[in-house]
Amino acid sequence: MLKYLLKRLFWMIPMLIGISLISFFIMHLAPGDITTTEAGFNPKASEESRQKLRELYNLDKPVIVQYGLWLERMSKLDFGNSFASHQRPVFWQTTDENNNTKLGMIQEALPITLLINVLSMGLIILIALPLGIISALTQNRLPDRSITLFVFIGFAIPGFWLALMLMYWTGVAHHWLPISGLHSMGADKLSGFAQGLDTLKHLILPVFISAITGLAGISLFVRNGMLEVLHQDFITTAKAKGLPEGTIIFRHALRNALLPLITIFGLSIPGLIGGSVIAESIFAIPGMGKLFFDAVLMRDFPVIMGILTIGSALTLVGNLLADLSYAWADPRVRKGVMQ
């Protein structure tokens, strides 16, 4: 297991270098250099801020040196300071000579996005598991057909449109739920518990929206996994032994059908992180997605590059965790890994 872990960790190095190359390439996509694009987009961009860009990315040096310096900064997780938001550090807090601590932008935004994604993954499991199981057990009959229809609509529904409709219906028309931000006005005067409840209410819509698109895929996946397992010999054996239906479905079939879900969740991380852009900007949630979107609008390059890199690194870590849990959960893989 340790050897497997080390091997996987080692593989992350070329991956990270690849990511650095791609992000470096994107930075140089702009016609001319990025200082002119910024000027073109924002007429107020001063010569001073252009000079700052040149310094930050060493644009006056040869390309290969630029890349080397970029790689060095990436390895130190130093993405510089934001241009737009009062020189705040992009990634992590810094303390200046007067002992004033400035919090990092990603440092503040990341926990919010992670919380939303963890909650929506929980919601996905809670809804998709029963749907998938029911669908598999009633294959080609009415419940299966209606769940499949639901799945297809779930795949096709534009998240931002659903968000808009729900926001209007639950927030504007009926005032059931708050539709923007994470806290109500004056929430800081409430007790800790009431504050938590208030935040939770603000999270209902965003979590639901980010869960709905993942939901369809996972329930289809559980259905097909269950169907495959139910046709295998050991299930027939279990039935022949006269085991009760519940035991067969939940102890024998489900456990095997669920294993690949670990990998699917690992693979869905980049989609979830990327998908946070739309949900967070609609509901004005100060997470990674909104931070990124605002940075794109303001051409705040240090923030864009920082989030791109951190988002990719998170995906790598997520995939690693998924593979490790898979190895831990599946004795076949675990044994194979150890040999």
Binding site: I26, G40, I157, V172, G271, I278, L308
Partner: protein, 271 residues
């Protein structure tokens, strides 16, 4: 073809898409108004006989804008997938045919691209370029070829050592001939299925980008930006938000149904 029509999913998808394609193609002839014509006397009118889907804040006819928007959405979807599929076929074919270190490099490249959150990547590229319909197509295409690459590679790997390929090779066929005459035609089914499904997700991405204001730019109509325009009037002009969303939903549904139906109909294993 008969198998495709006999499959209810594929047939439903085919009908939906044909209808939308037809409407998009005929837009200049069947649209009752100029999609960009501003009419100050007809601002925010609800759906009626004159304006089937109502009008927007500038008095533009939504039905006409929807028809022209369909052209944009479908064009972006199809061109983006065309780019992605071409890249995928070339890289996948090279990786699956030559194997060895070429394959290793290609597959690592796929892994790296897959680990960058796609929507972030697309937005970042657009931040450095200017949003325009051509840039959108290219960017969506350049960020969605990984699935096809893996697929083509897997097909090639499994076909590479079949008798008919080896026989042809023994008879002196060149790499080019083997790839294009023998391997590629036999891998077409999964490529077609994934392209059809790819159009569905490209349409969704384009509408999302346009919704965020980073896609197709006004005054050119796209379903995404009709929705963005309508968002501010949602309290008293529901038709501005409802119709574009439904159009996206139905189009994406159509492509998904067709894709899944094709998979069922053409895959010998599922019969």
């Amino acid at each position: 073809m008969r198998k495709v029509i006999a499959n209810p999913l594929a047939l439903a998808g085919l009908l939906i898409i044909s209808l939308i394609l037809l409407l998009a193609l005929l837009a200049p002839w069947i649209a009752p108004y100029d999609p960009n014509a501003i009419d100050v006397k007809a601002i925010l009118l609800p759906p009626s006989m004159q304006h089937w889907m109502g009008t927007d804040a500038l008095g533009r006819d939504i039905w006409s804008r929807m028809l022209f928007g369909a052209r944009i959405s479908l064009l972006v979807g199809i061109v983006a997938v065309g780019i992605a599929t071409s890249i995928g076929i070339v890289l996948g074919a090279v990786a699956g045919y030559y194997r060895g270190w070429v394959d290793t490099i290609m597959m690592r490249l796929v892994d790296i691209m897959l680990s960058i959150p796609t929507f972030f990547l697309i937005l970042a590229v657009i931040a450095f370029l200017t949003p325009s319909i051509w840039n959108i197509m290219i960017v969506i295409g350049l960020t969605s070829w990984m699935g096809v690459t893996r697929l083509v590679r897997a097909e090639f790997l499994s076909l590479r050592n079949r008798e008919f390929v080896l026989a042809s090779q023994t008879l002196g066929a060149k790499d080019f001939r083997l790839i294009f005459i023998h391997l590629l035609p036999n891998s077409l089914t999964p490529i077609i299925v994934s392209s059809v499904l790819g159009v569905a997700s490209a349409v969704l991405v384009e509408s999302g980008l346009s919704f965020l204001g980073l896609g197709v730019q006004a005054p050119q109509a796209s379903w995404g930006n009709i929705l963005t325009d309508g968002k501010e009037y949602i309290q008293f002009a529901w038709w501005l938000s409802l119709f574009p969303g439904l159009a996206i939903l139905i189009t994406v549904l159509g492509y998904n149904l067709l894709g899944e139906g094709l998979r069922d109909a053409l895959d010998p294993r599922s019969q």
